[in-house]
């Protein structure tokens, strides 16, 4: 593709007759929709980060520092709701899945472009409902993002509104999943069999199945809670003849698989970045693809490990403990295959690769501490303590969050046609690593010492760890704002990116940066395996 200049990009051409903002708000182009998600999701991410900063500041010393207990309880609830429902669940699939899944399988768009736009609007409506719930009389929700009954039925805050927002957001997730599954089945380019698909597509595809199969369960659960709050129907509240443990089961039947909705696409991104910068094929393609499906499947069967201390029967406890250990295995398989992919490669550790190294370290800690929590004796001690908080931040933030930045740095030149300052970017990787571990590692220690989570105040022996953690939060959030800063700067002042700055071979690197409206002039015929770098030579000759 020597003549990038001659091709009009999707920024210059629109799917409709409008120009300006309307050409975006009414677009059916998967790439524009991906970018609209990016703006909304990043905005909420920043809100979530600021809330986290405020919580950490409150916790820098015992007793009251900057806010009262009710405010703190509200903030940790909002931090959870925003980070989970508005950032990390939609983050990778809605932004990068939308933008790159169709391109990577050689399609001009997703199967249902209008439905795709509708999903974005549903996301925005859900997000607005979350915001509205903050300002209505009654005050912002204070139940924790897990909405445990009976507290969530007793709380006088705007629980129903916030729950309804999560209900609406669920539909955005379901419809996006539906769209991706259909796209993968129907729109693959000629020659692209299932086992020639890039692994990001595999991962997003596996995720999409969880989205459409698990999300309805939470929708149902939420609806029942709203019914209970509004009409006093006794389903979960024992005062009305209900069962609060039933709520916990129904909640986690969705919310545990949701963890895999968060992490699987990230694993897909890793499987893209490592081959590109190692310039060799992925090690164990089928093992990685199948382990995604295995995680998606076994991930359904481990939910009750969130409830080991709830008074479930001992049989339930050991069965769920055993299954939890089993679900760790496919994640291990992935990590071993990724490291093996570096073996005898030609490694150029540029920014996206450094992010992936960051990921492998942080996510391994997250995964391995999951073993501590999967084991019954240790879980009973550590559940509902800071150990769990540290564990899931290492998995979700250290895993998916880190890969969010990896994906951003990997695909930025393709999405915007500009390159960022690589020196700044590499400094950010290191600062992120230091800030992250300072912020979250002390929480493992506090957890083992017996510091319960969701605590506004704490005993004096925890002070030193809380201080280190708060200082870490300044480094980490400073780094995040620095990243957003230099990326926005690059949009305007960055050097022009070539169509293939990293030497990747999946289909997105065969087309101009940024891509034209319908991605491909002619639909490609796929003859190569996804990570066959012998193509690089032909690609340069094109």
């Amino acid at each position: 593709m020597a003549n990038d200049v001659a091709v009009k990009s999707f920024y210059q051409e629109s799917t409709n007759k409008y120009s300006g903002i309307l050409s975006w708000l009414l677009t059916k182009d998967h790439k524009r929709i991906g970018l609209m998600y990016m703006i909304a999701i990043l905005a909420f991410f920043v809100v979530g980060v600021i809330i986290g900063l405020l919580m950490r500041l409150e916790l820098i010393a015992p007793g009251r520092t900057i806010m009262d207990a009710q405010t703190y309880n509200t903030l940790f609830t909002l931090h959870g709701v925003i980070m989970i429902f508005l950032f990390i669940i939609p983050g990778l699939p809605a932004i990068f899945g939308n933008f790159f899944l169709p391109i990577q399988i050689g399609a001009r768009d997703v199967a249902f472009p209008r439905l795709n736009l509708l999903s974005w609007y549903i996301y925005i409506i859900g997000a607005i409902l979350v915001l509205v719930s903050l300002f209505l009389p009654g005050g912002p929700i204070d139940t924790g993002w897990t909405f445990y009954i009976p507290y969530s039925v007793r709380s006088t805050t705007n629980v129903s509104m916030a729950l309804f927002a999560a209900f609406v957001l669920g539909f955005s997730s379901i419809l996006t999943g539906l769209n991706f599954i259909t796209t993968v089945h129907r729109l693959r380019a000629p020659g692209m069999g299932f086992f020639k698909m890039p692994l990001f597509v595999w991962a997003t595809y596996a995720t999409a199945w969880i989205q459409i199969l698990a999300t309805p369960v939470i929708a149902l659960t939420i609806l029942l809670v709203i019914l209970e709050r509004t009409f006093g129907v006794g389903i979960f509240d024992p005062a009305l003849g209900g069962d609060p443990i039933l709520f916990q089961h129904m909640f986690w039947i969705y919310s545990h698989p949701a963890v895999y909705i968060m992490i699987l696409p990230a694993m897909g991104v890793v499987s893209e970045i490592i081959p590109t910068f190692s310039r060799r094929t992925i090690f164990g393609y089928k093992a990685i693809a199948m382990s995604s499906l295995a995680i998606a499947f076994v991930g359904y069967l481990v939910w009750a490990h969130h409830m080991f201390s709830s008074g479930m029967s001992d049989t339930a406890r050991w069965i769920f403990s055993l299954l939890t250990f089993i679900v760790a295995l496919p994640s291990g398989v992935k990590i071993f295959n990724w490291v093996a992919t570096m073996y005898k490669g030609s490694i150029d550790p540029q920014t996206p690769f450094l992010w992936v190294m960051n990921f492998i370290f942080l996510f391994s800690i997250g995964g391995l501490t999951g073993l501590v929590l999967g084991s019954l004796a240790t879980d009973i001690h550590l559940t509902d303590t800071y150990f769990v908080v540290a564990h899931f931040h290492y998995v979700m933030f250290g895993g998916t969050g880190t890969i969010f930045f990896a994906a951003l740095h990997y695909w930025f030149p393709k999405m915007f046609g500009k390159m960022y300052n690589k020196k700044f970017a590499n400094i950010a990787v290191v600062a992120y690593f230091i800030g992250f571990n300072m912020l979250y590692f002390p929480k493992f220690i506090m957890g083992y010492m017996g510091m319960p989570r969701r605590y506004y105040d704490y005993l004096p022996q925890f002070t030193i760890y809380q201080e280190i953690s708060t200082i870490g939060s300044w480094i980490l959030s400073g780094t995040i704002f620095f990243i957003i800063g230099y990326l926005i700067h690059a949009l305007k002042y960055g050097k022009k990116a070539t169509s293939n700055p990293w030497g990747g071979v999946t289909l997105e690197w065969h087309i101009p940066s940024p891509p034209p409206l319908e991605n491909f002039e002619t639909i490609p015929i796929v003859t190569h395996e996804p990570y066959d770098f012998s193509q690089l030579k032909e690609m340069k000759d094109e």
């Binding site: 201390s309 030609s346 073993l371 084991s375 004796a377 240790t378 879980d379 009973i380 509902d384 303590t385």
Partner: protein
């Protein structure tokens, strides 16, 4: 850590140590290998990359060995957990009531306190109920906790073997003053306990 206040706390610490030791080896192994590859196969060195599509033997090895490791972790975790589920012989039963935001205790002779007093080396059975929402009874030093679910009775068993004062925390979020829902369990010698408790309590055969 000093001396463990219960036998069970020792076994939990052992399970923790076992899993963490294996985890540290795995983490350092993965990280060191990765960093080594990045230097060894750096593009600057000019090696031609070799396409290796996979290796069935390796895949089998790194499924089978981790499987054995996690099964052993499961086993140790489960056997240690079993200790907490065995009801002590002739337990001393204390009724625990949790409400927003305090615990209160009622002893067999009708005595009531808001700090838990228990005699040394006696099996204790806490019969726990909630008056309002969910709480949890958590004794970090004993490494045990159990939720107190509104509408249900949950039990927590332990046998203290060291005299002392230990923190008790609520570990299930329960609203405004959740973080102030602390009390203590005071483990005292039999004779002291008899004096404190009044009548009708005989130290069990030990």
């Amino acid at each position: 850590m000093g001396i463990s206040p219960t036998t069970h706390a020792e076994s939990v610490d052992f399970v923790m140590l076992y899993i963490v030791a294996i985890s540290v080896v795995l983490l350092l192994g993965i990280t060191a290998t990765m960093v080594y590859f990045v230097f060894k196969y750096n593009r600057k060195k000019g090696h031609a990359p070799v396409d290796i599509h996979g290796n069935l033997l390796l895949e089998v090895i790194w499924i089978v060995i981790p499987t054995l490791l996690v099964l052993s972790m499961f086993y140790f975790g489960y056997t240690s957990f079993r200790e907490t589920r065995e009801i002590p012989d002739n337990p001393f039963v204390v009724k625990v009531t949790a409400r927003m935001w305090q615990f209160s205790f009622e002893y067999p002779n009708g005595k009531k306190t808001d700090t838990l007093y228990v005699p040394l080396s006696t099996g204790i059975d806490l019969e726990m109920r909630s008056m309002d929402v969910n709480h949890a009874f958590y004794i970090p030093a004993f490494r045990i906790k159990e939720d107190i679910i509104y509408g249900k009775t949950n039990h927590l068993y332990f046998t203290p073997k060291e005299v002392g004062d230990y923190d008790v925390a609520c570990a299930e979020y329960c609203g405004l003053s959740h973080s102030a829902m602390y009390t203590k369990v005071k483990v005292i010698h039999d004779n002291e306990f008899t004096t404190w408790y009044g009548s009708n309590w005989q130290p069990q055969n030990k």
